[in-house]
């Protein structure tokens, strides 16, 4: 990882001057006088303070030294291994991709860092949890998050729930004081953790018996890496984390992963393959809905081969996008009209099933579903054929056995539908430009279109820049315009849980994955990530610009600043309630970003926005500096009354979907 921390953001685009290293903490003469008058300071102190410059936005030498420290390999020799070290060693053998945390649960996070798990510390547990989730959505890898006992852990809850809705293989770690203090409220921070994550995890366990720490670590990874992933929550009382083991015989079930879990996965039965191929052969307009399972199981090459062999239409769903390119001739992601023409739907790896009327397909269309676990087949959506199979194995079989066939009429219809959707977006953009010109504020359609256009026309960026979107009004417009062309290029932060706010932090996690070339992000190291969020949303993630800066994760954050929660039209008929939806106007998120070590720009015209994106990209690429672009907007853009057309219902599945 390139840790180019010595370069500082050079440009304050607001003032148009170079600021270089900022010295934001200067005591004014007035302030010093006040201190002296109060009798708190001495003349000597006051004089020193006036002459002293406190350099801000510097990385401590200790930070750099810490990252350069060698990895250790704990052993039973000598003092032996702690429970935390036993667990950390297991995580290392399982190739745990990263840990995103805030200090707390010290024994465990320290042990994970010591054994060489890429470990990152930040400012708020909730956002660090979101970063872990974003990292996984962009890579498919198992990641961990951790927080301090009760408070840090409960701060993570929204983002654990978001990860659960997205079926992210997230290992939630948190210490839980001591067994000795249980039920006594001894000192502080007690929380009953396991009941708190009930309903938002696949497996959870408070470790009680120190000798079973390896056994439960193994159980955690068995759940994380088998079947449909979801968060797993382990909490470590001090008696477990700090227990010492001098021999492997002190530990129950201390054996390797080859023995405590299996890579064996279900293969489709020959009769099922015969049945699905028969259905596909008779269909004129078959549609494959490729869900998150195809991404998780890295089945995109097989999907492409199967689709191209028989001209199957494809649309992807889930929290990760791009594993079937939006610009492929067979992609219906941006061709919603054609979805209504499908005469056969084949779900593959759709982990979160919609009900039939939630998806834009013909009423009562014939449906096949391929899923790795039998017990979910038939849930929500009645099936004509259910197949238990690993997604990639199924797609490999399909690619091999499906007879080649050209479906020219279907392909032509998809192309026409794409053109029609593009035309509607072009019209929307024109309306946005008109609204921007009329109001002198930036319309969200303009932001969204110019954002994607920047990527599409960038000589380096079209495949390299990973993206995401969030916010209400901003997200509803952004989804229509953002595109993904390679696996993991786009994540959908509000996916299924609809959390407003973790989006920017998630994108920092994506940036970490890109900078380190993890999984499908390999080859794009160096490219900044970009996201669109709202003023409501950024308040949840803003402080993590510090984290992005210190680790060198360039993230370009477009903030749609309309001075309100996007749902403010809900108070249209209740005037006395509307104040609850409003913020102070023109809050300078860009200036806040600057004080956290990022660049900040404020814009209110399309031209200014495009130029700001260009500068932000260069700073991100060349200096690994993040940028927050504060786009001044109007809350009235949400509704159609004054500035048509207002927000639209998101079409799913497809580019604008953020559920299922």
């Amino acid at each position: 990882m390139d840790m180019d921390h010595d370069k500082k953001p050079e440009t304050d685009s607001l003032a148009g001057v170079s600021t270089g290293r900022r010295n934001f903490l200067r005591l004014s003469g007035t302030a010093i006088g006040a201190v002296a008058t109060a009798g708190v300071g001495t003349p000597v102190f006051a004089q020193a303070a006036t002459q002293m410059e406190i350099p801000s936005l510097q990385l401590a030498e200790a930070f750099k030294q810490s990252l350069a420290e060698p990895v250790t390999d704990p052993s039973f020799e000598g003092a032996g291994m702690t429970g935390a070290e036993v667990f950390a060693q297991l995580c290392k053998k399982e190739n745990l991709a990263a840990l995103f945390c805030c200090p707390g649960n010290y024994t465990v996070i320290n042990a994970l860092a010591e054994v060489g798990i890429p470990a990152f510390g930040g400012r708020t547990e909730g956002s660090m949890c979101a970063m872990a989730d974003g990292f996984s959505r962009a890579t498919g890898e198992v990641v961990a998050t951790s927080g301090t006992e009760g408070p840090g852990f409960t701060h993570m809850i929204m983002n654990i729930a978001a990860a659960n809705a997205a079926r992210t293989p997230l290992l939630v770690l948190a210490s839980n004081m001591t067994l000795a203090g249980e039920d006594r409220e001894a000192f502080i921070q007690h929380a009953y953790q396991q009941p708190t994550t009930e309903g938002m995890r696949k497996y959870g366990k408070r470790l009680i018996n120190p000798s079973r720490v390896h056994e439960y670590g193994a159980t955690a990874f068995r759940h994380l890496k088998s079947g449909v992933p979801q968060p797993v929550h382990l909490d470590f009382p001090a008696e477990v984390a700090r227990a010492r083991f001098k021999s492997s015989s002190d530990l129950i079930d201390y054996y390797d992963k080859e023995h405590y879990r299996t890579e064996s996965r279900a293969y489709p039965a020959p009769t099922d393959m015969k049945a699905v191929i028969k259905l596909l052969n008779t269909a004129e307009r078959p549609l494959v809905i490729a869900g998150q399972g195809v991404f998780q199981r890295k089945g995109w090459d097989a999907l492409l081969r199967a689709a191209e062999k028989a001209d199957l239409g494809v649309v992807t769903s889930g929290p990760s996008r791009g594993f079937f390119a939006d610009d492929h001739r067979l992609s219906l992601a941006a061709a919603p009209d054609a979805l209504l023409s499908a005469d056969l739907v084949v779900f593959i790896g759709q982990y979160c099933m919609p009900s039939p009327n939630e998806y834009r397909v013909p009423a009562g269309v014939k449906t096949v579903r391929v899923h790795p676990e039998q017990d979910d087949l038939g849930r929500n959506w009645p099936l004509d054929l259910g197949i238990v199979s690993d997604e990639t194995y199924f797609l490999e079989e399909l690619a091999q056995n499906l007879p080649a066939r050209k479906r020219e009429t279907w392909v032509s219809e998809i192309a026409k539908a794409k053109a029609a959707f593009q035309q509607r977006n072009d019209d929307l953009y024109k309306q946005g430009l008109d609204n921007s010109a009329r109001s002198t504020f930036l319309h969200p359609a303009v932001i969204a279109r110019d954002f994607q256009n920047f990527i599409d026309t960038h000589p380096e960026g079209r495949l390299a820049i990973a993206t995401g979107f969030g916010g209400w009004t901003s997200g509803l417009f952004a989804g229509r315009f953002l595109r993904a062309y390679r696996p993991g290029q786009e994540i959908v932060p509000p996916y299924q849980y609809g959390a407003i706010g973790p989006d920017a932090a998630m994108m920092m996690g994506v940036s970490c994955a890109v900078q380190n070339g993890v999984g499908p992000q390999a080859g794009y190291e160096g490219a900044p990530t970009m996201c669109i969020t709202s003023d409501a949303g950024i308040s949840y993630s803003l402080m993590e610009l510090d984290t992005a800066r210190k680790y060198g994760w360039p993230t370009i954050i477009t903030v749609y600043n309309n001075n309100a929660w996007g749902t403010f039209p809900q108070a249209a008929n209740t005037p006395r309630a509307s104040h609850m939806y409003l913020f102070q106007e023109n809050i300078r998120y860009d200036q806040m970003a600057q004080q956290l070590g990022a660049r900040g720009e404020v814009v209110r015209t399309p031209e200014e926005y495009r130029a700001a994106l260009d500068r932000a990209y260069k700073a991100g690429r060349d200096e690994k500096v993040s940028t927050l672009i504060n786009c001044l907007a109007l809350k009235e853009f949400t509704a159609s009354k004054d500035y048509p057309p207002g927000v639209s219902v998101p079409i799913q599945p497809g580019v604008s979907a953020f559920s299922h």
């Binding site: 307009r285 939630e358 057309p645």
Partner: protein
């Protein structure tokens, strides 16, 4: 009884819940249905000289004829007969489609000499299109949330 199971295929595929309804004057068949967002509709069949007519009412929550959304719905419906729609979804010359509005109650009537099950499928797919295409047109979210009395962040149509 003739046509009694006409909607069963859709019910079995989770499209909507339906139950036979008491027949009104000159009706051949009738059902009440709960479909999108729990919206209750009535689908009734009449025999006419040309074959059959199918009426779906109320197609949407109350919508005055003067409302721009109703005007947009009329134009959307006329497009369904045009070449902009793929032939397998297009409403052909063999089907007559009418939209009417009586004090805000919107009715959709399809008349054709087609076999009744085929005509029923066209009616069901047309209503499906109203909900999955027309209501998804740019800018429609605020109206949908108000008309169906649903929060914008629980915009579910099952």
């Amino acid at each position: 009884m003739f046509g009694e199971n006409l909607l069963d295929g859709y019910v079995m595929r989770g499209v909507f819940q339906a139950q036979p309804d008491k027949l009104r004057r000159e009706e051949l068949l009738a059902w009440t249905m709960r479909w999108f967002a729990g919206h209750a509709m009535r689908l009734s069949v009449h025999r006419v000289d040309a074959g059959h007519s199918i009426t779906v009412e109320p197609l949407l929550p109350p919508l005055p004829a003067t409302d721009p959304v109703y005007r947009d719905l009329r134009s959307w419906l006329s497009v369904q007969k045009s070449e902009a729609i793929p032939v397998h979804r297009r409403l052909g010359a063999d089907i007559d489609v009418k939209l009417s509005n009586r004090k805000g109650t919107v009715s959709l009537v399809l008349t054709s000499a087609l076999a009744l099950d085929a005509l029923t499928d066209r009616a069901v797919q047309l209503v499906n299109g109203v909900y999955k295409d027309f209501l998804y047109q740019p800018g429609r979210l605020t109206w949908v949330a108000g008309a169906f009395q649903i929060d914008p962040d629980s915009m579910v149509f099952f």
